[in-house]
Symmetry: C2
Subunit: 414 residues, 2 copies
């Protein structure tokens, strides 16, 4: 079993100006490769501190991956720090210099003198070409141990980690464990509610493990198994999954399926159904989620954001009496909105949302968080759900949108 | 000057299952308080490793803030680790136990035996009450040095850091430096373009410093000054800001203003203008951005997501001939969409977007990234801009939305 540490370099990380998603990406890539990460460290743009962090890490772990600090400026100090930590001189690497010159030539721009620094490498390093930028990475080996430096620009880092670093690590360390994960995408339960239903099944650090991951109104259950090979890991997940499903009836809408708007889109396409939307309190969020998916025009026709009542009357033919009698936030108006937009666009189905996202606009009778979602499908009878959603404006809008898409999912898969 | 380190605890961080935004929040809070963070570390749910990380950090820095590992389960080990690192026994803290019991009583749920563990504290610790959850935090002092533990749940952590930890640190350490930041919100320039215009003004680590922060289609320029007091820091920023503005004429739409949808909303409200939208390739994103702002109903009436051509004809009265002659993605159709939605909702102004977000649907004549944005304001003459936007589908949609809001901003502030 090989162990690793990750070091990210950049004063902006220490100032809280940047979220360190590079560490997350590298950690996941290593976990997937079966390499154990024991520690992650961030340090600023300071040669001595970077060198100390590298030296400490490589004294604890088999390999250390350093991301960032390979740019052309005087603040990019990872080359110097890695040389210091591994006691090697920096040498000009001609192949890398030629590549950097070539990149500028193709862009038709002169190469700044600064960029020469990017071709400096600790003596004896394995050089990692960068296909997306000027900063090459490198690997310095110390027997079984290795210091690996990659650029901090996410696109360049990701390509170098996936295409060069992980294969190199797998070859160097006889990594015998494989980690396989499986994500169960759920709807309809909050994080703590879901957690309490499966809490007794799960203990962190146990293999296979279960993690509940909430992200912005949706909750995923992630199953992770570590085994000698892929088949064995999959067999472990196949045993675990039914235990989780038993606890979450009617909540799992997909396996490794991604956001609900993708899964619903695939269902609509498969059934050759078309969809229209009418949104009040979600203000276009449902339309925006649907059209974030490439190819949405196969099933999504469009819709109306009927934020003001005029828009409900003009575009959706909601009767003014209906609004007067029941209020804009009501079962009746939600239904009329869905029926109206469906008639206009002659779609197979339509969803409509009206509610109070807050923070203002609530009353005792109709508080912030009250939302009605209406669905009309091939069956002419519309279905309406009344929801009381917790959270701030953003979360209420998001939860209402997900609830509407969940209703559609249940109808379309039926 | 006080120095700090931050440690976050959780095996999910080492597996890349969670992005560590807690570190970012704490780092920013400390920077704002004038406390220098020199290192950030993440470790897994392992008592010995957490204790080692704490001991190492407190030997380097004045204080170490540990986030996470204060929950009720056997995997929550920060209490034990902090006690080990500071060589103190764990003792039951009666006041905290009473608070935890009270919290369960209010929820009408029985307290699990596990939750008693959350009332264990290193002997002599200052206890930090948690108003949003069951896990109290604590501070163990070693002369000038301090180990501070806070929960990992973001909401609980944030309240505890802002309301209790930062004031405690300011009182304990005579923090003589104050950091003041000022964010210039820009539109119309890409990150690298903007960067190259001001690159010679800025050197990381210099005081005052300039950072270019790109986030999803918008670019901010952040000025940071460190001085003995707030007034002196502000004076430094007042000197720096005009130098930056000189390089970025007509690009800065706000100072500390946040996203463009907020600034545009405030402008519309101030002028008592109303707005309608008609969106093809942005698919409701503009409506969604506008209605993410509380109080948007003061100026935003609604709009149409005219994804399919039927929606352009039915809702926006775009003439079929116009689409046939010029295509749905054309200056003429963009204008007709804006005029159509404005007439329907009788708004002061309207913006319309039509384009090709890709990845499919492009042609040689009309490639992916081609977008037309039309604006019609109080002046009956509509204004149209043709854009060729780089990036993937998500970025093209986002950039088109921001371009439309930028046009509106320029008209509304004129």
């Amino acid at each position: 079993m090989a162990t690793a540490e990750i070091i990210t370099v950049g004063t902006e990380l220490l100032l809280g100006q940047l979220v360190d998603t590079n560490t997350t990406f590298i950690a996941k890539a290593l976990a997937d490769a079966g390499i154990d990460v024991h520690r992650e460290t961030s340090v600023g743009d300071n040669t001595a501190r970077i060198a100390t962090a590298i030296r400490e890490a490589i004294d604890r772990a088999d390999c250390v991956i350093v991301a960032g600090g390979l740019g052309p400026t005087v603040d990019d100090l990872t080359r110097e720090a890695a040389a210091e930590a591994t006691k090697r001189p920096l040498e000009l690497h001609e192949h890398s210099l030629e590549r950097i010159k070539g990149m500028f030539a193709r862009l038709g721009r002169p190469m700044a003198e600064n960029n020469r620094r990017q071709a400096l490498m600790p003596a004896g390093a394995v050089v990692l070409d960068n296909d997306f930028g000027t900063a090459p990475g490198f690997i310095v080996e110390e027997g079984r141990r290795a210091v690996i430096a990659v650029p901090g620009v996410p696109r360049e880092m990701k390509a170098m980690i996936s295409d060069q670093v992980v294969p190199w690590l797998l070859a160097k360390y006889d990594v015998s464990a494989t980690i396989v994960t499986r994500v169960l995408n759920t709807i309809g339960l909050g994080e703590s509610d879901l957690d309490s239903r499966i809490a007794d099944l799960f203990h962190a650090g146990v293999n296979p493990s279960i993690a509940v991951l909430a992200h912005f109104g949706q909750v995923d259950v992630k199953l992770t198994a570590k085994a000698a090979n892929r088949e064995a890991a999959i067999a472990m997940l196949d045993q675990l999954e039914p235990l989780v499903r038993e606890r979450l009836p009617d909540c799992i809408y997909a396996v490794d399926g991604g956001p609900i708007e993708h899964v619903v889109g695939d269902l609509l396409r498969a059934r050759a159904w078309t969809l229209a939307t009418a949104e009040s309190c979600t203000g276009g969020l449902i339309a925006s989620m649907l059209t974030s998916v490439a190819g949405a025009s196969d099933y999504y026709l469009g819709g109306v954001v009927s934020y003001a009542n005029e828009a409900k009357l003009d575009f959706l033919d909601v009767a003014p009496d209906l609004i007067e009698q029941h209020g804009a936030v009501s079962e009746e108006v939600a239904t009329a909105m869905a029926v109206g937009v469906k008639a206009h666009l002659r779609s197979t189905c339509a969803i409509a949302v009206t509610g109070i996202a807050g923070p203002g606009g609530g009353s005792e009778e109709k508080p912030v968080g009250l939302v009605y979602v209406a669905l009309t499908g091939p069956d002419p009878q519309a279905e309406v759900r009344k929801l009381m959603l917790p959270g701030d404006r953003e979360m209420i809008q998001r939860r209402a949108a997900i609830a509407a898409l969940s209703m559609l999912w249940k109808t379309a898969r039926a």
